[in-house]
Symmetry: C2
Amino acid sequence: MRYLFGIDIGGTSVKIGFFSENTELLEEWSMPTVLSHLIAEICGNIRTFLKERKVEFCDILGIGIGVCGIVKDGIVLRSVNLGWENVDVISEFQSELGSAIDMVLLNDANAATIAEFSVLRNQYSNMVFLTLGTGVGGGMVLNGQLLEGANGKCGEFGHLKVDDKYREVCSCGKIGCLETIVSIRGLKRLALHYQKILPTKLSFDRLTPKSIFDAARKKDVLAARVVTEAADALATAMVMISDIVDPEVFVLGGGISQAGSVLLKAVKDAYFRKTSKNSNTEILLSVFKNKAGIYGAAQQLQKKTGGK
Amino acid sequence: MRYLFGIDIGGTSVKIGFFSENTELLEEWSMPTVLSHLIAEICGNIRTFLKERKVEFCDILGIGIGVCGIVKDGIVLRSVNLGWENVDVISEFQSELGSAIDMVLLNDANAATIAEFSVLRNQYSNMVFLTLGTGVGGGMVLNGQLLEGANGKCGEFGHLKVDDKYREVCSCGKIGCLETIVSIRGLKRLALHYQKILPTKLSFDRLTPKSIFDAARKKDVLAARVVTEAADALATAMVMISDIVDPEVFVLGGGISQAGSVLLKAVKDAYFRKTSKNSNTEILLSVFKNKAGIYGAAQQLQKKTGGK
């Protein structure tokens, strides 16, 4: 029996998945993202895990690593959240765990894209994945291939300009970006905007995307309005994406997508109202949810090693 | 010696190129687009041409056909300009010229994309081509492959929303589309908008994109303003495209791109001001100009037949 790891290094936590060689998830855990000696911490964690389970290093097929940052040709060019610039992540992992272990490195959103596409590849060859969470990102499979982009920067959906009304300044310095509306902060800001205008039973002390979507499901007027506006902004961006790459299917992932059907219905309504195509485009929710990153990293590693 | 044809069927004229089997252009001509019996007219034209030059049909390797319309799986699903719906163009050509002749059918903007990429393929694998003329369209090569899109509708750059100011209604029914500004009509409309506001030596009786760009080159205040605004709108769309697919190079083609350096400089200024990437993106002018369509159609045919 051989195994592999899928790791998802995010800005707040690192998720680690222990997989069979057929990329079945066997165990998973997470640890907080510490900014000093992060890679050494992760590797120490893995060594301890293997020791406890009496698994030998020679039974590890390899490690797939997804990182929240710009990845190009096996290097993390920049990760704002991790404070990394030009980090050769694979070399650092190999110097901790041994150079005999196969590794692949990819952007976290691309890892998630690979996972979501794995369950759709028999039906589709053009998929756009949007991840909605702290920020908005994503990835694309076009003509059946993952797109990395010239600078490792494709799928920057969060900075599409979709809003002329609130004109919030985004972290990127521009105004009206999708991320200023359809993100954890964006949704809270929208709810606060309507606080004195619309009736609501929302508790503003403990405002989360979940509380907003839960209230919308119970027909809370303010919450429903927030969901409609967020769905509208997201649909505007999706129409732009569709005009450019014309995918067969959109997949919505990230924490906010866990709102489920109340979000999906609002997005579909807005998208089909806005698109000028007599569109047969599918809009689906993520299958792997917050595990998409570890699954995709493991799948990419398996693909690289060819299950050797 | 064997030959092939590259045909570009547009809304106002049909361009026909007669190529060597190495896709060198030997002769070219054009004919007006007539709406009844168009394919029979084109084929009659080709037969006469071959007869005059004493070229036998058996020396024709094949015909590449680019059409202004939505092409998917060898069928023109719809061409608004030609009034076609679900037309099996290849069958119609073959019933005129014989089924022994190899043919390929593609969208005209995709044909032009193939031609422009043919001179860049050693340097780049991600190119976005924009054609600026009566409307705005384009095509993309990503990961070295032409993208057709799920519905044959990728590259619809003309309907990206770039304008909040003039809010012109586009032919698609939406407001603020790129095509309402950076197109032959759009440029004229912009010039007329500024007619009573800005000093100019432009003759409004014979207003063309060329006269506007020529005047801008001579520092005409109104014309320079029109060029700046058009370049700004185009750059806004290019930033969106870049956020989504992150190309290495943009190529600007179509009649308006023949304005040359005055347009290119304005577009580069606006693009690099707007993009949030420290961008090494190239922005180039079309090499094949208005012959891109016939070259690309011929190249695609040659690729299909493998020069057999």
